[in-house]
């Protein structure tokens, strides 16, 4: 473990923490442009988080320790995930601690705690949101695992840095299985990050909420951490997608500082394009009824399984 590797690990974590709210702000701005509205400030998520941190926290009387510790657990889980996912460099000492399957487990841990905290208070909307979140989650998780398995089969490893290293340095060939997996992954990330075909992040109507309904009881620093964690989750998913399907420009293992300097603008450029595409998908599609979500995620699962089978059959 060299000093450069530790430095790249820390730098990557810092960049993830700093850039995650910016990505949310960028997506919101693109959505406003596409809908012909005047855009909110790009830095609005930062202002919101700062404002929430200086406010006094109000916790419901019957809140247990689960409710109060959940924001920290969720935030920590997302930070761990940000440390594992190779966004800037593939030489990550911390990534040896967990592979792609453990990464899915980290997301599941965060989801379970959010749902528990939402049910802890005992309000109707909280439990409603928690149930919907679990409905979406249990369908999205196998699809995500299948996508990661397809990538693992092609590269021969479940460790994310190894997968990305293999993909970034292979010779150019058409992989139909990766195309399927890419579409499946996009659908899963839309569902997991509470984006439009499944959930509307900007809704004010509690009855249609999934993710927001679970955060209704949070305030001040707890809410700030939850919002930041949600932004980090979007950032993590975007980075997994970029790492698996567009790994070009990432700093390889054993690289020097120059490679890292080149990787950062590449990452920001890719995230900007990805954020714009996300806003485009959200603008072009309408929110589904909640009972159509299983069909949507079933299609994602089907595509991911087909990707794996096609990979087995064609060897590509």
């Amino acid at each position: 473990m060299s000093a450069a590797a530790i430095a790249s690990q820390l730098l990557q974590l810092a960049i993830a923490l700093a850039l995650a709210p910016l990505l949310v702000g960028w997506v919101n701005q693109c959505r406003a442009w596409l809908a012909n509205r005047s855009a909110p400030p790009l830095l609005l998520p930062y202002y919101t988080i700062r404002k929430l941190f200086v406010k006094d926290a109000v916790v419901a009387e019957n809140a247990s320790a689960v409710f109060r510790t959940t924001p920290y657990i969720v935030f920590a889980a997302m930070c761990c995930a940000a440390a594992i996912v190779p966004s800037l460099a593939t030489d990550l000492p911390f990534a040896r601690a967990a592979d792609a399957i453990a990464l899915v487990g980290l997301f599941a841990l965060a989801r379970v705690f959010i749902a528990l905290a939402a049910m802890d208070i005992g309000t109707a909307f909280g439990s409603l949101g928690a149930r919907r979140e679990m409905l979406v989650g249990f369908l999205a998780e196998p699809a995500l695992l299948m996508v990661l398995f397809t990538a693992s089969l092609i590269s021969g490893s479940t460790s994310l840095p190894t997968i990305v290293d293999t993909f970034a340095h292979r010779e150019l060939a058409i992989y139909p299985s990766l195309a399927f997996a890419g579409v499946a992954f996009t659908m899963v990330s839309l569902a997991e990050n509470a984006r439009i075909p499944v959930d509307n992040p900007a809704t004010h109507l509690e009855l249609t909420m999934i993710h927001e309904a679970m955060l209704l009881e949070y305030s001040a620093r707890h809410l700030a951490l939850m919002e930041w964690a949600a932004a980090l989750k979007l950032f993590n998913y975007s980075c997994i997608g970029l790492a698996l399907f567009f790994p070009y420009g990432i700093a390889a293992a054993g690289g020097d500082w120059l490679a890292m300097l080149g990787a950062a603008p590449a990452l920001i450029g890719k995230l900007m394009i990805g954020g714009f595409l996300l806003a485009l998908i959200e603008t072009l599609s309408a929110k589904m009824r909640i009972f159509r979500a299983p069909e949507f995620l079933g299609t994602a699962f089907l595509l991911a399984v087909l990707a794996m089978l096609v990979n087995q059959m064609l060897g590509s």
């Binding site: 399927f180 299983p294 069909e295 079933g298 089907l302 595509l303 089978l309 096609v310 064609l314 590509s316």
Partner: protein, 222 residues
């Protein structure tokens, strides 16, 4: 994979698209979209046949690609669109049994046909032999589509899609059948389609609907 020439990679890609379209047809509720998906499958089939022709230098496959385009992309979808217009079933929506379950059965079928085709494709010497399993899977999926549908028109589209899968199997496994056979099959499909078109009107005249569950009764009056 990396050792394959570009044209073989393209054929693999088109085979994957063919499989995806078969699944899309399996879960599509609207008759009109079903016809469009069938036409798209024809395009994928024609392009892949042309690429096989280019890659292997088999001249007669160009003719069969052209035949595919003329018949399956232009003529048959046009006939089907005309039938839909005349039968006035343009906005027909079919109540499918449980889409996720159908998809899962479809996945099982794909696994089955991949397993079945694997030893066969090991024996073949063509570059595109790996796609045999996909061709088989799309035949199976069209078969499943015919089983799960109740209306007459989607069943016929399923039948035509099955022929697409068979045709793809022939090109991928053996670089195409003799021209006489291909022409004969094309003519068969066309004539079959025309006769079935006449049948639709007969069925509707007899039963006042294209739902085939009415035909399950053997006796009149009960």
């Amino acid at each position: 994979m990396a050792g394959l020439p570009l044209y073989a990679q393209l054929i693999n890609l088109l085979a994957a698209i063919l499989l995806l379209l078969a699944f899309a047809m399996l879960t599509q509720r609207r008759v009109l979209s079903l016809v469009n998906l069938f036409a798209a499958q024809g395009v994928a089939l024609g392009v892949s046949t042309a690429i096989v022709a280019y890659g292997t230098g088999q001249g007669h496959l160009y003719a069969s690609a052209a035949l595919t385009f003329a018949l399956k992309v232009c003529l048959l979808p046009w006939l089907l669109h005309r039938l839909i217009r005349k039968l006035d079933v343009k906005w027909d929506v079919e109540g499918l049994i449980n889409v996720p379950t159908t998809m899962l059965i479809g996945i099982v079928l794909v696994v089955f046909s991949f397993n079945l085709a694997y030893p066969i494709s090991q024996l073949a010497s063509t570059v595109t032999r790996a796609t045999l399993g996909i061709a088989m899977a799309s035949v199976m999926l069209s078969f499943l589509m015919m089983i799960t549908r109740r209306k007459a028109l989607p069943q016929v589209i399923g039948f035509l899609a099955m022929e697409n899968g068979l045709f793809f199997a022939a090109t991928s496994a053996t670089y195409g059948m003799p021209m006489v056979v291909e022409l004969g099959i094309a003519l068969d499909v066309l004539v079959g389609m025309l006769i079935l078109g006449v049948f639709f009107f007969q069925i509707r005249e007899q039963f006042d609907s294209l739902d085939l569950k009415h035909m399950e009764k053997l006796k009149e009056g009960d």
